[in-house]
Point group: C2
Chain length 406, copies 2
Amino acid sequence: MIVIKSGVTSPNGFLASGIKAGIKRSGRADLALLYSEVPAVAAAAFTTNRFQASPVKVSKDHIKAKKHQAIIVNSGNANCANGSIGDKDALKMTEFIGNALFLDKREVLVASTGIIGAYLPLAKIEKAIPELAGELSGDHGTSFAEAIMTTDTVKKELAVKVKLGKATVTIGGACKGVGMIYPLMKTERHATMLCFLTTDAAITKKMLAASLDEAIGDSFNMISVDGDMSTNDSCFIMANGLAKNREINSRGSDYGKFTESLKFVMSELSKKLVRDGEGATKFVEILVTGAKSESDAKAIARKISTSNLLKCAVCGEDPNWGRIVAAAGSSGVNFDPDKVDVYLGNLKALSDGASVKGLDKNRAHKLFTKRDVHIKVDLKSGSHEATAWTCDFSKEYVAINSEYST
Amino acid sequence: MIVIKSGVTSPNGFLASGIKAGIKRSGRADLALLYSEVPAVAAAAFTTNRFQASPVKVSKDHIKAKKHQAIIVNSGNANCANGSIGDKDALKMTEFIGNALFLDKREVLVASTGIIGAYLPLAKIEKAIPELAGELSGDHGTSFAEAIMTTDTVKKELAVKVKLGKATVTIGGACKGVGMIYPLMKTERHATMLCFLTTDAAITKKMLAASLDEAIGDSFNMISVDGDMSTNDSCFIMANGLAKNREINSRGSDYGKFTESLKFVMSELSKKLVRDGEGATKFVEILVTGAKSESDAKAIARKISTSNLLKCAVCGEDPNWGRIVAAAGSSGVNFDPDKVDVYLGNLKALSDGASVKGLDKNRAHKLFTKRDVHIKVDLKSGSHEATAWTCDFSKEYVAINSEYST
């Protein structure tokens, strides 16, 4: 596998565009389109939030179609909590693209991100469709990645190439979302991070969904910026087969290679989100090992990743590891506290549930002065592990989020 | 029921003290003692965190004794994650008081609050015992309330008097804890908020535990400052019978009156904690009504109370109610989003799951400029309700918690 630059338009046959439709008051780009020149199979994962945004409802219905060719995305408005008007508006967005690109509306998926509870300026979107479709290009992957941004400070895109038999398959992706980030997405059931993945691999719709499901559990579902789960989180992948590999239709070695590559792309994109987390100055990786089950390891790692106290300590470069202990213990997972070791980097702070006497506080502090902070919790009770990623909690986070809608 | 000033020493027969033992580097009072002149029955609730501080382990064992007369409390050190040394130290604290007051150590309870993972300066505590016992007085309830404080900016105490038959029963209390506040305590099983309650009511140990259990579910277990659950949360009550009421030994009308009064004291103390929450500038009350069950209502209210995004919005006086919707939907409770109404004060923002058109934004903003912000979520699916309390999330919170241990 090799990592290449660019993003959603790297695989063969994908075009994209991103333009200014006037949805955002800032005047920045806010409408984006992703298009496969040939029919593709698609899979998607959506937020498990009980309140689901209208575009999530429409995409959950449309994803049932056999083939898809386009995804329309707006930023600046979540089209959530808008009742039946919101549902109609989201459906209209797919119809606009269907009409412009000669597709059935069910072959078009839709996503929105922005403020909740404001009605969509549909007339502005309709007016912008000719430009949006007209700008479609293999060179506009970056415009796409920019137009989906909200409080993001940098665009997030990536692509990799992997050999499957004699064919070279490319997987590309772009994502956004640096606040209200604590996704828990389920494939075709239930993620405001948005992620758009493209590949020219030949793969069945069923295997594509399985691959996305595997990859999402170890990537987007393991990140937190603020512990707030969005109503709009969505992750889409389209596979158009233009790489001409032997179609992946079962869990063989090609499926394994494809899934590993997809997992890599999604993990890297997840980490980009966390590094750009609202107000973030630090990146924190939390590894939980020695768990009885993967779900135990994930639950503990995820709980630690949402500890406001730990995140403030990281911001202040204060190695107050007791906050890791308190968070782990409140995860709801049953484990023996007297067996637990906690490491800051490679420095052991807790050993068999007791604080290490004579802990080198200067060394501990130094580890917390780095841009990347590594924490390990070893339960010493099993062979399962999980990694979660978060950022620190800074005054800037509060500033960003106390001034959003007004 | 009438509310009186003072706190833990208001009921007959209770003495208290609070002194400086040198545990806190700040030099403030850090050691406290509560004493009943006659044997009392006691009940307690402790944190459900998997990591339990040593004083929690010791008190969970000692609470099994039939009678109790004293509680020793230190601030500045949580005595948590200190392994068997910590356990021995906590036990020693009860022995010190036992020796000083001619009690069996099992008649003494213990609580600690402060940094996790630092060993207790036991020699300093031992040295301070004569002064601590010597200062015991019916006038030192306030000294007690001050010595248990950590990042608290004000002491929190309260007492009420209630008529039971011909007798007048007094219930007093003091509590501390304005960070790492998201308690979920269980009676005699498993709260760093600390709460100490005293009463001169005559009541059996069993009924006292039942009453505490009822009251805690609607008070301390419904507050959040930062969503971080402590390893040390503990709530104690001692009842010494000196009011000479007919002993409460079943769920009759006296039990009901006593429990209502206890619930009032505990709710008021809970709200005092939230109002003094680290960095707090606002107080937020979240009422969830129309739920299918009380547990559903509590789960949703508690989830909303931990939304960092909502708490930042409140800080910025920004009525961004979409964040309430997102938080409610991520509570894990199954409800029909299309039925939900959301109110800011008495202003309806969401009606039947759809944002109210023409919402008076100035009025909404004005409601958020007040010191107390009221939010109501009506699920319109049942007859159960619950209230949770939280504070806003300010830059000051981050400042306080990025500089704690260093």
